[in-house]
């Protein structure tokens, strides 16, 4: 196992600011506060070479988990081993073997030119000169960063900066890569390039990847394994297919009818079938589960009683499914 987390937990103490000057003074000396649980009893095992997608709403505990795995945050309790090391205690040794990209903020120095930052990072991570050169060539080929190297980081656009940040995180060829919402706010082309490079590193160098994202297309494109997390707990851990299955495997049949819809005829046609209809002008939308009802059967039942002009069957969008799933979990 590359990553082994057992009953991993992280809490934060948070408190409201008090009012007034005396409040400000008292705040200075307050140490306690309310406990807020960010990650609650997380169990996770990741094998070398896996690409795992972490998904969940804002504040689900994804970032906190990543930060513990990278050694930035200490766990409150539980055990965590990454490559046999305890990330927080053996941080310096640990971070040599990992690469980290945060989509929200750069890890390069604002006022250095990109190449200067790369040079410095190569020095810090003790990358041999020949390897460094190869890496730069690879990154230029895959991410097109060659023209950006002379520019100061602060003058880069978001897309340019993220490409450089990714390259910086990979300069020492880490066997384990953490990507925390790496493509947030990027255009389609940059997203595609980043995904391709990540996929390639996983394929060719066996790099293990942990990815958090809101973009489910990204998960579908990159991650054979998905971990759904909310309130610091794992709700689901499996393949994208399993995710779909567990999320319900909902389908939608959209039927266009000749003339006005007769509600009486509709309910008679659907009598006894596990399906919920929604009526709109000249259209009926029917939601049903793949496991409970087959599409041909439903179509047959409908066309027997109603004048069907046209129809289409759609798989439910995974994003909608996840949103609905969270809603159910919270309810």
């Amino acid at each position: 196992m590359l990553i082994e987390a057992h009953q991993l937990r992280r809490t934060f103490s948070s408190f409201e600011r008090r009012q007034g000057l005396s409040g400000a003074v008292r705040d200075l000396f307050r140490t306690g506060g309310q406990e807020r649980v960010a990650v609650e009893g997380l169990d996770l095992r990741v094998r070398p070479g896996e690409v795992v997608g972490f998904i969940g709403p804002n504040g689900a505990g994804k970032s906190t988990t990543i930060k513990m795995m990278t050694g930035v945050l200490a766990p409150s309790s539980g055990t965590l081993r990454v490559g046999g090391l305890e990330p927080h205690r053996q941080r310096q040794e640990h971070v040599r073997r990992i690469g980290v990209v945060y989509g929200q903020r750069t890890q390069l120095w604002w006022d250095l030119a990109v190449i200067e930052a790369f040079d410095l990072l190569a020095g810090i991570f003790e990358v041999p000169a020949a390897v460094y050169r190869q890496r730069l060539e690879l990154f230029d080929r895959e991410l097109g960063i060659g023209p950006l190297l002379r520019q100061p980081v602060r003058e880069l656009s978001l897309g340019q900066r993220m490409r450089c940040d990714l390259a910086a995180a990979l300069i020492h060829a880490p066997p384990l890569l953490f990507l925390d919402e790496p493509t947030i706010g990027l255009d389609v082309e940059v997203k595609r390039r980043i995904r391709e490079l990540v996929a390639r590193l996983n394929r060719e160098e066996g790099t293990t990847v942990l990815l958090t994202t809101h973009d489910l297309a990204e998960v579908e494109a990159l991650c054979p394994r998905v971990v759904l997390i909310d309130h610091g707990r794992i709700l689901l851990d499996g393949s994208v297919g399993e995710l779909r299955e567990r999320l319900g495997g909902w389908r939608r049949l959209v039927v266009e009818l000749e003339g006005e819809v007769d509600p009486g005829a509709l309910s008679a046609a659907l009598e006894g079938l596990p399906v919920t209809p929604t009526l709109t002008a000249g259209q009926v939308e029917l939601r049903f589960r793949r496991s409970e009802l087959s599409a041909p059967l439903l179509i047959q039942a409908l066309s027997a009683r109603l004048p069907v002009r046209d129809l289409s069957v759609e798989e439910e969008d995974i994003e909608e499914a996840v949103a609905r799933f969270y809603g159910e979990q919270r309810a």
Binding site: G20, L21, A24, V25, L28
Partner: protein, 264 residues
Amino acid sequence: MIPTLRTGLALGVKLALAYRFEALVQLLSASVVALLSWSLWTAVFRDRATVAGQDGPGMISYVLVAWLITTFYGSRVDQELAARFREGLIAVDLLRPWDLHLHTYARDLGRAGVALLLSTIPLLLLAGSLLGLKPPEQLWTWPVFALSLLLSHAIGFGFAFLVGLASFRLRNAAGLTHLKATLIGVFSGSLIPLDLFPEPIRSLVLLLPFQGMSHTPAILFTERLPFVQAMGPLLVQLLWALALMLLGRFLLRGALRALVVQGG
């Protein structure tokens, strides 16, 4: 004009209250320096009765008042203004329906008012009870001192505003801010009692605007001058305050024109 002043004041007060911690830090910092110069001057007067024509209690009171009121007039408008120009936020300010110069003045006055209540007055009281700062004996001193404080703030603001405009023009904030601190430190009386300067220099320094910031309020507070004669320095303060304010308004117009031409 009145609405501009009112909204500016309210905003300044609100911002200053939001930075309570900074106020506390300022209070502590100022008291450390006050303690330091009190110690030094007490030691100086242990071996002699007068220095530069001033006796011990008079000099110590002067030094304490001159220093402690910097917490009141110490304006950061130069840095704020430079930052707003640098970050292009000045364009937002110009969209607002107010006179930018007057608004900035009112806001800084609000800041100063909060500082007066949270830092300056507590510090003066503390200095009065622990460090032998003598309160004025005459009743008329209080209103005159209050007026002088208001003018010292206006001078401090006017000067800081000019420095802010200059750092926009020269595209450098840090250097000019230090220059400002130096000029005020040397010529205002806040750190060096102006009476220590040898004669021709002393008279020249008393012609500069900076003496209106700490020196004038301090000599009024320590009642060096009788009422009629006290009006002289007060008038000088008033003239400098007006001059700096008008210059600020005039140069702001030029800077904004430059801004429009350069497009930031």
